[in-house]
């Protein structure tokens, strides 16, 4: 399956891009996606465990299932308000 991963704020600075398509073997969870991201973007790997993940605009835990076509967002600590 392929998921589209969006990077924001510091995460985008570590990866050098705002989005990237990641291929995962089915079935896959958020944890699998985190591992794939750490492998693809070594500069992101150090901070990634402290970042949250959202799937299709909802925060998602590491054991959440992913499906082909999901929009996965890497969310560094937020600073709104």
């Amino acid at each position: 399956m392929i998921v589209n991963v969006l990077f924001f704020a510091q995460a985008a600075e570590f990866t050098g891009c705002q989005w990237h398509e990641i291929e995962l073997s089915t079935p896959a969870t958020v944890a699998d996606c985190r591992r794939a991201l750490a492998g693809t973007f070594p500069q992101l790997a150090g901070e990634l465990p402290s970042y949250l993940i959202a799937v299709n605009c909802d925060y998602a835990g590491d054991d959440a299932d992913l499906r082909h076509g999901d929009e996965v967002a890497v969310i560094p600590p937020v600073g709104g308000g």
């Binding site: 704020a9 605009c57 835990g61 967002a73 560094p76 937020v78 600073g79 709104g80 308000g81």
Partner: protein, 146 residues
């Protein structure tokens, strides 16, 4: 009413959005760009959002606040892009029959907003250097529930 805007926010519009003849209390909280934070000086702030998710979270916070504090109405607007020192970055307006609920509701909304809405802030120093400034969260269990 939740909104993300790239132009100046208008506190009066938010007041108008929540005014009601059944309400005795309206509170408008405005978060403005400060010149000094800690030891740093900023000339402006710059906000970025994951826009569709930020709007969803803002709308969810509004619904939760209305239920939790029995508010009559609620409006949240956040500005994106460059915000000069002194300008308003966030406006939260609530109305309620009673003032304690309105004040507590506004405080709760601001805490939730700073905790879970995917918006990020850069402080821009006088020399143009930009640093990311995450919110300092005031409660335990600060990470959004998954």
């Amino acid at each position: 009413m939740a909104g993300l805007r790239h132009s100046e926010l208008d506190e009066q519009r938010c007041f108008a959005a929540v005014r009601s003849p059944e309400c005795g209390a309206m509170v408008v909280f405005a978060g403005t760009a400060r010149r000094h934070t800690g030891g740093r000086e900023a000339v402006r702030l710059r906000f970025f959002a994951y826009e569709p998710m930020a709007l969803r979270e803002m709308e969810a916070i509004e619904r939760e606040a209305i239920e939790r504090f029995r508010l009559a109405a609620c409006a949240i607007e956040h500005r994106l892009g460059d915000v000069l020192v002194g300008e308003t970055a966030i406006v939260v307006a609530v109305s309620s029959p009673h003032r304690a609920a309105a004040l507590e509701g506004a405080a709760w909304i601001m805490n939730e907003l700073k905790r879970r809405v995917p918006i990020w802030k850069q402080e821009i120093a006088p020399d143009g250097a930009a640093i990311w400034v995450p919110n300092q969260l005031q409660t335990q269990g600060a990470a959004p529930s998954c």
